[in-house]
C-alpha cells in the first residue's frame, strides 16, 4: 500500500524536477596555495612526465600516486636535467651487447610524449649522412646519464619535421662541449627556420602550421597545393575552449604534484640519503 503511494509520489516529483548546480560562494583558495608552494609557472613544459593523461578514462588517483612514487625513486638515483624540445641532449645508456657496455648518443630532442612512467623522448642526429632517431623511455633503468648540452627551445613543441629537413639542421657534434645556462635567465628560444627537402615528405607539414619551417608552402608541389583546397583546414578548432581544457593540465594537479615532490625531497634529505633536488627550474632559479 505504502509502496504504491510512494510510486505516485515519485511520478509527481519527476514532473517538475529541478537539480540546481549553483555557482560557488567560496573564495579562490587555489591561487594562494600555489603561491605558498612556490608553483613553477612552466611546470607543464619542464615536467611533461608529471602531467595527467589527456584520456580522462585513464586518470586514476591511486595509480598516478604509485606511478609518481616510482618516478621519484628513479629520479633520486639518476639526475634527470631540465630539457625541452629543441635542446641538445646526450644520453648514456648501458647495452649488454656492446664491447664498452655503454652507448652515448648526442642529438636534438625532437619529441617528448606520454605521461608518467610511459614518458618518452626522441633524439635526432645525422651520422655519416644518415639521419638517426632514437626514442628513449625516460624512466628506463638502463639509462646511466642524461646531460643537457645546450638548453634552448625552438619555435615548435614538436620537431618531427626535421626528418624532411636538410641534414645540416640535424647534425650535431658528438664531442660537443656542454654550454652552461646562466641561472635565473629565461630559456633562450632558437628562432632557426629550417629548409625542407623537396616534396614528397613523410607528412604534409604545410597544413600543420609549423612556425619553424621556412616557407613550406612554396616547397609544396602543385598536386598537394590543389589538394589543400579540398582538405578541411580545421583552424577553428583552437577556439574549442573545452577541448583544450580536456587535454590540458590544471593548476590543482600541478600544485598537488609539486607538494608530493617537495615532501619526498624533504623526507630524503632529512634521512640523509641524498642532497639531490628534483624540483628546480633554470629560468626561475635565483
Amino acid at each position: 500500500m505504502l509502496r504504491r503511494s510512494l510510486g505516485s509520489l515519485r511520478s509527481f516529483s519527476s514532473k517538475c524536477k529541478s537539480e540546481p548546480q549553483t555557482a560557488s560562494k567560496s573564495s579562490n583558495t587555489i591561487r594562494k596555495e600555489a603561491n605558498l608552494v612556490g608553483h613553477i609557472a612552466a611546470f607543464p613544459e619542464i615536467y611533461p612526465d608529471f602531467l595527467q593523461s589527456p584520456v580522462w578514462n585513464r586518470r586514476n588517483a591511486l595509480k598516478e600516486e604509485l606511478e609518481r612514487r616510482d618516478m621519484l625513486e628513479r629520479r633520486m638515483n639518476i639526475d634527470i636535467p631540465e630539457f625541452y624540445v629543441g635542446s641538445i641532449v646526450a644520453v648514456t645508456s648501458s647495452d649488454s651487447n656492446l664491447g664498452a657496455k655503454e652507448h652515448r648518443f648526442v642529438g636534438i630532442c625532437i619529441r617528448r610524449e606520454k605521461e608518467g612512467l610511459h614518458h618518452q623522448f626522441t633524439l635526432r642526429n645525422t651520422i655519416e649522412g644518415i639521419g638517426v632517431e632514437i626514442m628513449y623511455d625516460l624512466y628506463n633503468p638502463t639509462i646511466k646519464k642524461i646531460e643537457t648540452l645546450k638548453l634552448e627551445k625552438r619555435l615548435d613543441s614538436d620537431l618531427s619535421y626535421l626528418i624532411d629537413a636538410l641534414p645540416e639542421y640535424s647534425t650535431f657534434d658528438f664531442h660537443m662541449e656542454p654550454l652552461a645556462h646562466p641561472a635565473g635567465t629565461p630559456i633562450p628560444i632558437n628562432e632557426t627556420k629550417v629548409k625542407l627537402k623537396p616534396a614528397p615528405w613523410t607528412r604534409r607539414w604545410e597544413i600543420f602550421g609549423c612556425a619553424g619551417i621556412e616557407d613550406s608552402w612554396s616547397g609544396a608541389t602543385p598536386w598537394f597545393k590543389r589538394k589543400l583546397q579540398k582538405t578541411k583546414v580545421n583552424d577553428y578548432e583552437k577556439y574549442d575552449l573545452v577541448a583544450a581544457y580536456r587535454e590540458g593540465s590544471t593548476l590543482e594537479h600541478e600544485v598537488a604534484v609539486q607538494k608530493q615532490i617537495q615532501k619526498f625531497e624533504n623526507e630524503r634529505h632529512a634521512a640523509g640519503l641524498t642532497r639531490r633536488r628534483i624540483l628546480r627550474s633554470a629560468a626561475a632559479a635565483k
Binding site: 638515483n77 651487447n97 630524503r268
Partner: protein
Amino acid sequence: MLRSLVTGISSSPAPEWAANRLLVATCISNTQQRGRRRTLTPVPWLPPINEPAHSNSVPLNDTTKKLLEKVIEREGTRFGEELDNSKAAITDIGESTRRVGLVVRKIGMLPQWTTNGTRILCTVLEVVENNVVSVTSPEDWYKMSAIGKRKAFNRNGPMWKVTVGSINDDPTKYSVGYRRQFNRAGIPIKQKLGCFLVTEDALPQTGQSLDARHFVVGQYITATGKTIDWGFQGGMHRWGMRGQPTRRTTKSHRRIGSVGSVGDARIWPGKRMPGHMGYEWVTVSGLEVIRINNDKQVIYVKGSVPGDIGETILLKDCVQEEKKLKKGPLPTWIPSLETISEESEEEAAAEGTIPKELLHNETFSPKIFRFTSPSIVFTDADAKRAAGRDKTKAKIAKVKK
C-alpha cells in the same frame, strides 16, 4: 535493526536475491567451429547484478537524512567480529585444491623493467575491501542452479561456492533482499560480487576479509572480466583482416572481400564478418604476478586483462599444471601470517639504505628492477651468447678427407 525497519515499510517481504535470479544454461559442445562463439553471459554460478532500492527517489528532508546516516554509522560499528583463524597457514597446495579468488578493480597499465632492462607492460589491479559474503555447500548451490551436478561434483571433488564482495557502499542504495546477505555475514554492504568454486580443504570463513597477499609474487593467475564494448565493428577491427588497397579501387577499402567459393554457393557458418565486438565474458590465464603493494593493496600483473580501466575483474589461481601455485597461504592470507616473511625484511634492512617507513611495504619478483636501486650496469657475462654460426664470416663447407 535498519533492515527490519525498511522491511516494515515495504508492503510485501522482498524476495530472496537468489530466488529471482536469471539462470542461463550453457551448453558446452566440443565440435570445432569457425570463428568464435561470443560468450556474453558470465558463468551461471556468478551472482546476479544487484538491484537498486526503489525508495531511492523519495525526497528525504535534511533532518531525516542526518538521522539515517547516524543509524547506518551505528550499524557499521558492529562489523569486524573475531574469526577463528587457527587453520590458516602457508603450506603446500595439493594437486586438486582450488582456493578462492579476489574481486579486483583494474586501475591502469604501467611499464616496469626487468633487471636486464627489458620493458614489461603491467596491469595494475586494486583489491578493494574484499570480504567473503557466503559459503554454500555443493548440494545446496547446484540444486538452485541450472547447470546440474557435474559442476558441483567434478573430478577435483565437491566444489563449494564462495561468494566474495568488494567495494563498501551506501546501504540506502540497495534493496532489502540484496542487503540481507551482507547482514547475515556481518559485513558492510558491497557494491560488486563474484563467485569462486572452492574445494573443501581451502574454504574461507564467512565474513573473512581477503588481502592482496592472498596471491604470491611469482605465481600465475587467471583473470576474468567483460571486455570493452566496441559496438558494431568492421572486419578489419573485429578480426584483424587486412582490408583492400587505398588506390585503384572504389568503395571497398575496409571491406572483408570474398566470403565463399563457387562450389557450395553459400556462406559457411562461422564466417568472420562485421558485427558486435567486445562486451564478452572472457578469461585470460597464465598471467604472472610480478609485484604486490601491500599497503595500498595493489597487484601488478604482467600483460593485459580483459576489460577497460575501472572495470571489475575476477582473479584466481591458474590451474595449468606447470603454472599452478605449489605453496601459498591456505585457505587465505591473514595478518598473523606476516611474521613468516620476516627474514626477507631483515635482509632488505641490512642492504638498503632507505629507511623502511619512507617506502611502501612491497613485494617484488626477483627479476623486476626496483626503482630504489641504481641504474643497470652490464658486465661481460650479460652479453648474448652467439647461438650458432658466426655470421660475420663467410660460410665455407668443410671438406672431409
